[in-house]
């Protein structure tokens, strides 16, 4: 009747106004770029290539299988396979990409390249402060720009990186165990005929 609803509303805004000087949840602004919100793990922006170890060319996981290039919907990945092979992180000689370009102005961050990569070589980055002043050249990223270390991957996506590392370590352990078995079998097989021949000779 006398406008109590209005007065209640005005009291609420007054509480907001005065509370904004006192408590943090009445002033929820985060003053970017001085303050930042905590990064979310499941966010993604553009892809990057993972390398193990210290040398980005030596430890790069990508073996140039060209699956991501074929699966990319806007076709923004351009790969040229190398003609020679180099040993990868486990020592096995693999092809490597001589040229690996991603056109970031086209990339739509759909993460399909990450999902189809069988070698966990391409993952999604979270960096968003990417502005340049050249519209075309600076937005075509080459292999060096895309290569980031496994430690960086672990920093931005901890749980994912831990899972990938565990998987890779398991795979490597299985491989080592298998190779140990075969070398042992070979050693045993080598030893047995030598034993036999030795015994045959002596007999």
């Amino acid at each position: 009747m006398f406008g109590e609803g209005l007065l209640k509303g005005m009291a609420e805004t007054a509480r907001n106004f005065l509370g904004s000087y006192v408590s943090k949840d009445r002033l929820t602004t985060v003053q970017f770029p001085e303050e930042r919100v905590a990064p979310i793990e499941a966010s993604r922006n553009f892809p990057f290539l993972v390398y193990d170890g210290k040398d980005w060319q030596q430890g790069m996981r990508c073996v140039s299988c060209l699956i991501c290039e074929k699966e990319c919907p806007p076709k923004c990945i351009f790969i040229e396979k190398s003609t020679d092979k180099k040993p990868d992180a486990t020592g096995k000689p693999q092809f490597y990409p001589a040229v690996f370009n991603i056109d970031v102005s086209v990339c739509m961050s759909c993460q399909i390249c990450v999902e189809v990569c069988p070698f966990d070589a391409i993952k999604m980055d979270v960096a968003f402060e990417l502005s340049t002043d050249n519209r075309f050249d600076d937005l075509l990223w080459d292999k060096q720009r895309l290569a980031k270390s496994n430690e960086y991957y672990g920093k931005i996506h901890p749980t994912e990186a831990a899972a990938v590392d565990a998987q890779l370590a398991e795979g490597r352990a299985k491989l080592e165990a298998k190779s140990k078995l075969t070398t042992e079998a070979k050693a045993v097989g080598a030893a047995v005929p030598s034993a036999q021949t030795v015994s045959g000779v002596t007999e």
């Binding site: 009747m1 209005l6 805004t13 002033l27 602004t29």
Partner: protein
């Protein structure tokens, strides 16, 4: 010593006039009275834009502008530079002469109203015998400027906004004038200086302002609501609602002319607040009798700042009124309330002083308020809703 500080501007003006030959003294006297108004109130406008943005920001759980200068204090300068350097776009089919004159008329009309506001003791530009009438006469020029702006742009949304704005303004001019008539009745004069003088006494420490009487309080509330409408401010900013009709009647203006519209609106807001202070809040009188040593212009401007803060507060709180709600409110609530207020002021005048007249007048104010607001609410006739679901 307090009197010297209080009258410092008057003393300085007389001293400066001494240096001028006698023939041009009236002209220089007029200039020296007018130029401070032209300097102070646009500065107040600049400060108010900043205060409003920061105040609204805090109400809405955010900072206001705080990048330009410390705490955003240089933001008005940035705004001024922006509005001065923007390209002035005039539509091809627009009426150029009228398009150009509309903001000028608005600002001139708004500035003319300051001539009768007593800013301090002996500090008024023109002590007219019919000061309040002059103020309302000049306020009615604003509607013409709004029409000129809306029509000359040759834009149907602009015209629509102008029509709504004019309808709103003339509807609320009636309660505005009627609410001030009570004060004129009580003070017995149309001169603003006389009205302030009529409120100058103190009963103990309490002042004799008109707002501390039942009819004065009702009149003050009505006057402030009507003042909010006259300056097209939220929650009555339908003609310029940013989410509705983009910018309403000044949609085709850019750059400095837009800034002039803004300036004219805010100046109108200050002028009407100043008139409310003069009529109801005792003008330049101090609120308590032991504070009369503080200079009079300080009290006027602090009351003005309090009212401006009230405007900003209301803007941050209430949603916009629809056009029919607005008109209903004006003709069905404000007008009868204002007319009854005149009657109540008469009753107050003729009853002997004491508790009985307080009780009678409070009941006479409260009862129509309740009844009229009940009458407003009854308009909602909800239809029986039939729901049709997709098959």
């Amino acid at each position: 010593m307090p009197e010297t500080i209080d009258q410092i501007f008057v003393i300085v003006k007389h001293w400066l006039l001494g240096y001028v030959p006698a023939e041009v003294q009236p002209l220089f006297s007029a200039l020296l009275s007018v130029v401070p108004i032209l300097v102070v109130f646009p500065l107040l406008f600049a400060i108010t834009t900043l205060l409003e943005r920061k105040g609204l920001g805090r109400i809405q759980n955010r900072y206001g502008p705080n990048r330009t200068g410390p705490y955003g204090l240089l933001q008005p300068i940035a705004d001024a530079v922006k509005s001065l350097t923007k390209e002035d776009v005039v539509p091809h089919t627009a009426d150029e002469v009228v398009h150009f004159l509309a903001p000028l008329l608005l600002v001139s009309a708004a500035l003319l109203g300051y001539a009768v506001l007593p800013v301090g003791r002996n500090m008024i530009v023109a002590n007219l015998n019919a000061g309040v009438l002059f103020f309302f006469a000049v306020g009615s020029l604003v509607e013409l400027a709004v029409f000129m702006a809306g029509w000359s742009s040759r834009n149907k949304y602009s015209l629509l906004g102008a029509m709504r704005a004019i309808a709103q303004m003339i509807s609320y001019e009636v309660p505005l004038v009627l609410a001030s008539i009570v004060v004129i009745m009580a003070a017995g004069s149309l001169s603003t200086v006389a009205i302030v003088k009529a409120q100058a006494g103190y009963a103990g420490i309490w002042p004799h302002w008109f707002v501390f009487t039942p009819w004065g309080f009702a009149g003050f509330v009505l006057f402030m609501i009507a003042a909010t409408v006259e300056s097209n401010r939220s929650p009555f900013d339908l003609p310029e609602g940013e989410s509705e009709i983009i910018a309403g009647y000044y949609i085709e203006y850019s750059g400095f002319k837009f800034a002039l519209f803004f300036l004219g609106e805010y100046l109108g807001m200050f002028a009407t607040s100043g008139m409310a202070i003069t009529l109801f809040l005792g003008g330049w009188a101090a609120p308590f009798s032991f504070l009369t040593w503080v200079p009079s212009y300080f009290w006027f401007f602090s009351k003005l700042l309090v009212l401006i803060a009230g405007f900003i507060w209301v803007r941050g709180t209430l949603p916009r009124l629809r056009m029919d709600q607005l008109m209903n409110f004006a003709w069905r609530f404000m007008l009868p309330m204002a007319l009854l207020n005149i009657f109540i002021a008469g009753v107050w005048h003729f009853m002997p002083a004491g508790l009985s007249r307080w009780l009678v007048c409070i009941i006479l104010v409260a009862a129509p308020c309740i009844l009229l607001s009940r009458g407003l609410k009854k308009e909602k006739k909800l239809q029986v809703r039939t729901y049709r679901f997709a098959e």
